[in-house]
């Protein structure tokens, strides 16, 4: 077997690590700006796709398949995002006799669209949130759209049928905002997924987001896992995930996991997937959607079950049977939390903060796993998602996991760009978070309340150390001869660039 990883960043490294653990050769494909990214260097072979924007590179089915052909890859792992939920791609892989590490294109068609998935869920007996039975047709008049809105009731959600990660999604409080929300959601959906279709769904007031990982083999077995709690979201984008959820009892777990298994079994699901639910304060849960791929937050499940989900994806793709004890998957060992480190400036409304990583030192030690996609000297591009690393902390209990996470984040040195680490250090000490009193609206509410307040509280002593450090740094820089300062701090790549520029001039 030789696997081409049709993705980039941390997930490409993650998949390649699993391959190396299994003795499987790997192929990376990369865009121009990703040439020196860790996943390209980690792969056994690497093929340039050319271009930078996703539409020129990672979304180009033809280029990816050509790279597979040239390198004689036998399988393709799509990661998450990009082509991962694109059934056309899965079909093209099948046509090219490449094993797609994921569900069949038929299952993706059935479950990938949110409205079709809803129907499957209803047939499988899973409770669903009230909403439109299909996409809201594009040709409808504003009046017709408003009529549909009234039937569902407000507040409601406008959601992209092909959506994910909060893109193409809008909360609408009342009819006055509906028409505009539909327009912007469609526009975003078209840009992000190439499909402008949206549907409406009733918005629950303060639901938790709870999801069930499933694995299905190619012999009819589908197994559900302990839930992940992903209620800490900023604008529908998950930022912290954990498992287990403190509000899910073993009995409730059986029920939700059972519903997830029923939906995916009914669809003939194979490989890894996730069934998302909303969970009410009274313990009622509602089917939301199925993600027909590996998810960003899969490591927390790995930490409490001891299973390597990517290795299982590959084993399933090789035709292996799921021989796991089902009860083991529902019995978490300890507690795990993940923080998604984004290259965003939390102090500036989480504005994207791409740039050159001048210095990097990752956290380590007991209970800490760092799934990173970057390295010192790499310039985080503007073209893709801002996720640069995921820090996962395991503890005997939630409290220890949180304490270790906080310690790990304090160890993390990412020099040269802003990240969401200061924001995490703040939320990890928030009383509601510590008490696990959370729902999907918590973070946006709290953020709105504290608008303008900085997240970090640097002690007076630390601030003084920073002042002394900045002055001494300048003092020492000044003491260097001019010839030395050229190769000084943060100039890791400058000499290279100068050489490259010289090359360009000569040629």
């Amino acid at each position: 077997m030789k696997i081409l990883v049709a993705n980039r960043g941390e997930i490409a490294v993650r998949v390649m690590r699993a391959c190396r653990d299994m003795g499987i050769a790997t192929v990376a494909v990369y865009s121009d700006c990703d040439r020196t990214a860790p996943f390209v260097r980690y792969a056994d072979e690497a093929v340039a796709l050319g271009g930078n924007a996703p539409g020129e590179s990672y979304l180009r089915i033809d280029k990816v398949l050509d790279a597979a052909k040239r390198t004689k890859a036998t399988a393709i792992h799509p990661g998450y995002g990009f082509l991962a939920e694109n059934s056309q791609f899965a079909r093209a892989c099948r046509d090219a006799r490449l094993k797609f590490v994921g569900p069949s294109p038929e299952v993706m068609d059935l479950l990938g669209g949110k409205t079709a998935a809803r129907e499957v869920a209803i047939k499988a007996g899973a409770p669903v949130v009230p909403g439109t039975d299909g996409p809201v047709a594009e040709h409808l008049s504003d009046a017709d759209v408003l009529a549909i809105g009234s039937k569902i009731g407000y507040p409601l959600m406008v959601k992209a049928v092909a959506g994910g990660g909060g893109k193409g999604m809008r909360v609408v409080a009342g009819p006055e905002a509906l028409i505009n929300a539909v327009r912007t959601a469609r526009s975003e959906a078209r840009t992000s997924f190439g499909d402008a279709a949206v549907f409406f769904e009733r918005r629950l007031l303060r639901p938790r987001h709870v999801e069930i990982q499933v694995l299905g083999d190619e012999h009819g077995t589908v197994l559900p896992f302990v839930e992940r709690e992903c209620s800490i979201q900023r604008r529908h984008q998950k930022v912290i995930e954990e498992t287990p959820s403190v509000v899910v009892s073993p009995e409730l777990r059986e029920k939700i996991a059972g519903a997830a298994a029923a939906v995916t079994r009914r669809a003939g699901y194979t490989n890894a997937g996730t069934v998302e639910f909303l969970l009410d304060e009274d313990g009622q849960f509602y089917f939301l959607e199925v993600n027909t791929r590996l998810q960003v937050e899969h490591p927390v499940t790995e930490m409490v079950t001891g299973l390597d989900l990517v290795q299982w994806q590959i084993r399933i793709a090789q035709g292996e049977r799921l021989t796991l004890d089902p009860s083991r998957l529902l019995t978490p060992h300890g507690h795990a939390i993940e923080c998604r480190v984004y290259a965003e400036d939390p102090e500036q409304k989480f504005m994207p903060a791409p740039g050159l990583i001048r210095h990097l030192r990752s956290p380590a030690g007991p209970g800490i796993r760092d799934d990173s996609g970057v390295a010192a000297g790499f310039e985080v591009p503007i073209f893709y998602d801002s996720l640069i690393s995921k820090v996962i902390a395991w503890g005997e209990d939630r409290q220890q996991a949180i304490a270790r996470m906080s310690r790990a984040l304090s160890e993390y040195e990412i020099g040269g760009l802003k990240t969401t680490i200061p924001f995490f250090q703040w939320i990890l000490h928030d009383p509601d978070f510590l008490a696990a009193r959370m729902d999907t609206t918590l973070l946006d509410r709290v953020l709105a309340d504290r608008e303008g307040q900085p997240f970090q509280e640097v002690s007076i002593a630390s601030e003084e150390a920073a002042v002394i450090g900045a002055a001494l740094h300048t003092f020492l820089q000044g003491r260097r001869t001019p010839s030395e300062s050229g190769g000084g701090r943060g100039a890791a790549t400058s000499t290279w660039k100068r050489a490259a520029r010289l090359d360009a001039l000569r040629s």
Binding site: E344, H359, G416, A470, A471, T474
Partner: protein, 172 residues
């Protein structure tokens, strides 16, 4: 040797003096408050400080250039701070701050692509009204007017890529 260091909006005067005969030993006075400091350069981005007078408090200080001219990003154990030494103030802060008086140049806060231009020269705009939408890292950020006034100039077009700090529009 004396430096003016601006951190968190406060400017402090820092005097540094070598201590003879002791490796890495400095007498440092911050606004007149003296410290005996043992400072070592660990790698290209890291200074290890031990404040000998304060019971030996140990600080690992990571210092890199922020990308904005003259500005340093200084990270200690509990946070990241911007520092400007000797008044080499960054232009962006001078632009972004300073209230909403007079002519305002609106700059790109990060590199990205202009996906929409919402105004044309001559438009009257309210404070916080959107001027352009910049996309970077799959996120669209609406760049808004800092004041009510008239758009004097729109300096970018749709589809254009911009660097951080690039002027997008001028509002007067």
């Amino acid at each position: 040797m004396t430096f003016e260091v601006e951190v968190n909006g406060k400017t402090r005067t820092v005097a540094i003096e070598l201590v003879a005969g002791a490796e890495g030993r400095y007498r440092v006075a911050v606004d007149g408050k003296e410290h005996m400091v043992d400072a070592r350069e660990v790698d290209q981005s890291t200074l290890s400080l031990i404040l000998l007078d304060a019971g030996g408090a140990s600080y690992d200080v990571e210092i890199v250039e922020s990308g904005v001219a003259g500005e340093l990003l200084v990270r200690t154990h509990d946070g990241l701070l911007r520092a400007v030494v000797d008044g080499r103030r960054r232009r962006r802060s001078a632009d972004a701050a300073g209230g909403a008086e007079g002519e305002q140049r609106v700059v790109a806060p990060m590199p990205g692509k202009i996906v929409r231009v919402l105004v044309v020269a001559g438009d009257e705009v309210k404070a916080r009204q959107g001027l352009v939408v910049v996309e970077a890292m799959k996120m669209e950020s609406e760049i808004t007017s800092p004041k009510a006034g008239k758009v004097k100039e729109v300096a970018v077009t749709e589809g254009q890529s911009v660097e951080a700090g690039r002027v997008l529009a001028v509002v007067e």
